[in-house]
């Protein structure tokens, strides 16, 4: 499974989100590769799931994979909820 975290330039907040998504997945024992990317590259990338925030989600709605929103990049609960919504974590895990 390939997960993309996306921000405007692909080197600041998407990297923070990537590290925190990896940490939530590790806690749950789930294997996935997580990459970070800028919004224009992500628009044509292949992934199984894209995670971004409400500000950039409109740029990515055309992707064929699910796109979920996380607004607080340092809140592991919100990240876990987004992964539940995408079906990657089971609810209440």
């Amino acid at each position: 499974m390939k997960i993309l975290t996306v921000c405007g330039l692909g080197m600041g907040s998407s990297l923070i989100l990537k590290m925190n998504v990896e940490s939530v997945l590790k806690q749950q024992g789930i294997q996935a590769s997580v990459e970070h990317m800028d919004v224009s590259s992500a628009a044509s990338a292949n992934a199984d799931l894209v995670i971004t925030n409400a500000e950039l989600v409109d740029n990515l709605r055309h992707l064929s994979c699910p796109v979920v929103i996380v607004n607080n990049y340092i809140d592991s609960k919100e990240i876990a909820q987004a992964l539940e919504q995408a079906g990657i974590l089971t609810r209440g895990a």
Binding site: G8, G12, I16, M19, A54, E55
Partner: protein
Amino acid sequence: MIVRQAISIDNPASNAAEAIQAAGQALCLAGACHPEYVQAMVASYQEFGPYFVIAPGLAMPHARPEQGAIKAQFSLVRLREPVVFGHAENDPVQVLLGLSATSSDRHIQLIQHIVTLLADEENLHTLMNSRDPEQLYQLITRVK
């Protein structure tokens, strides 16, 4: 990671652009970037919007390495009054971590350092509320 000159705790800023400039100027003062990098930080906000407001009250503005970054470093700027950036969830912004992004291993280390810092609730509370530059400097340098 951060030098004392890059911490500034009482910045007057009346809008997001001025707040981002303050975060950038603190990086410049510390020798971490050229002045054009600061302009690029503001331009990035104008182009992509306030997506870099990563948590309630906390923004991490930066630009691209080739836009004038010199070395991987953070600045910490606290605003005198919170400022609206236009973020749906995380407004208003009170604290900015300006990032001089060099896209090297050093830059990744710097982000990892900040992730570790922000993961601890007590650290986060200090970061968001302290008005003591020495306390903030000690907090950031203490985290490993």
